[in-house]
Each structure stands twice: as structure tokens, then as C-alpha cells.
């Protein structure tokens, strides 16, 4: 049955993209790139939901993806507003690490 092949391949694909996003989040020191890494990880998790929904032919996977989309939109709005506020204070977003900031 080809559905199991789809499930395994899709889950491996989601895991690979998640790990790429995590590596980018850890490796890059720019705040915009760190937020992009979070977005990639969220997207990979959503794709895993789609794969599972396709495997069991249930709409719940897509429903969860829609909730994840709403959460990503709210998170990006707040995150980018924080980035802009931080840019107004520091005039730079590069070489950012939380432990250097001193609160």
C-alpha cells in the first residue's frame, strides 16, 4: 500500500525541514533570521499534521494546520513588533544573544 510510503516519506521530510529551521535558529545571530527559523519549524510541524491527516483520511490534520496558521500569524505580528521596538532602541539587530543584553 502506497499510503505507508507517503507517511514515512512525509514525516522524514517534515523532520528534515524542522531540523534545518532549528539549525538556522541556533546558527544565525540576527533576530530576523531567528524568527525565520521559528517560522520554518512551525511550518514543518504543520506539514507533519497534514501527512498524518492524509494517512488516516481525516480532516483533523488540516483543521490543526488552520489553527497553526492563526497562531503563526499572531506570533509573527507580536514578534515583528518587538523586533521593530528593539531596533528603535539599539539601531541594530545583528549579533544578538539574550545573555549579553542584561535584561
Amino acid at each position: 500500500m502506497s499510503a505507508t510510503i507517503h507517511l514515512e516519506y512525509g514525516l522524514v521530510l517534515a523532520a528534515v525541514i524542522f531540523v534545518i529551521g532549528l539549525a538556522g535558529l541556533i546558527a544565525r545571530r540576527s533576530l530576523v533570521f531567528m524568527l525565520l527559523g521559528v517560522e520554518v519549524m512551525l511550518n514543518a510541524a504543520g506539514f507533519a499534521f497534514i501527512v498524518a491527516g492524509a494517512k488516516w483520511v481525516r480532516p483533523e490534520g488540516q483543521v490543526m494546520f488552520i489553527f497553526l496558521l492563526a497562531m503563526a500569524a499572531a506570533e509573527v505580528a507580536v514578534g515583528l513588533a518587538l523586533i521593530l521596538a528593539l531596533f528603535g532602541m539599539r539601531k541594530s539587530l545583528d549579533d544578538f544573544s539574550p545573555d549579553q543584553e542584561g535584561g
Partner: protein
Amino acid sequence: METVLAGAGAVAVAATALVFVQREAVHALLYLIVSLFALAVSMLALGAAFVAALEVIVYAGAIMVLFVFVVMMIGSRGPKVGFKAWIGPALLSCALLGLLAYAAIRGSPDPYLKSAVAEISPKAVGTALLGPYGLASEIAAFLLLSGLVSAYRIGHK
């Protein structure tokens, strides 16, 4: 549809990896949009046409536009999206277009590419979203509203 899924997955992995090796944030955003498109094609190959459309419209169309706004606002040296920056994303997008054309030709009577997996229709998704998961939809609406209010509050100190 294994070919389409495998090809779109390869494009997605390549585009996502190329996001984090760019120097300029605008170039990274171009590759991230291609990565979202590739994941949308993968979802289409898995029979999830509704969320594939949502991925393109909401994620690549709305959320990425927020990123582009912010990158343009904080980019002090001006945007540098020259001709060379478009070559890589354009090649990856052409590969995706080829995959879609291949799927459309191979499964010609069926526009939704559902030869190997069963398609879950938008009607089924909508019925589940507003039926058993109606309360969760309300909570998601609250979450969006709170995100809007807090973004406004942070932006207007």
C-alpha cells in the same frame, strides 16, 4: 504522485537550507517563499488542496509580507534585490512548475492530483472546523485579537 511528492520535497529542503546561508534578509525571504510554495505542492500531492491554497494565500501572501515590510523598514543600506538574487528562487520555482505540469498531464481527468491518496475535500475540513472544533475556532479568533492588540500596544509606546 510519489514523483511529485519527492520532487517537491527535494525543492523544499533545498530552498529551506538556502534560506539560512544568505547574507541579506531579503534574499532569505525569497527562498523562504519558494520553500512555502514547495510545501504547498507537497500538500497538494497528499490530497490536502484546501490547506495548500491557505499555505500560499496566508503564509506566503500575508505573513511573508509582514516580514518584507519589517526588513524594508530596518534595512538601513537600502534593498539589494538585483537580478542575481532572483536566479536561484526562479530556478526552484520553475522546478515546482514543472512538477505541477507533470502532475496535471499524468492525472489529466483529475485536477486535484488524487491518484494515490484520497483527497480530503474543503467541505469536510470546513464541516469539522465549524462543527466539533467550533470552540477551538473561537479561541483561535481570541488569539488573533490578542496578537493584534499586543502588536498595537508594542508599536505605539
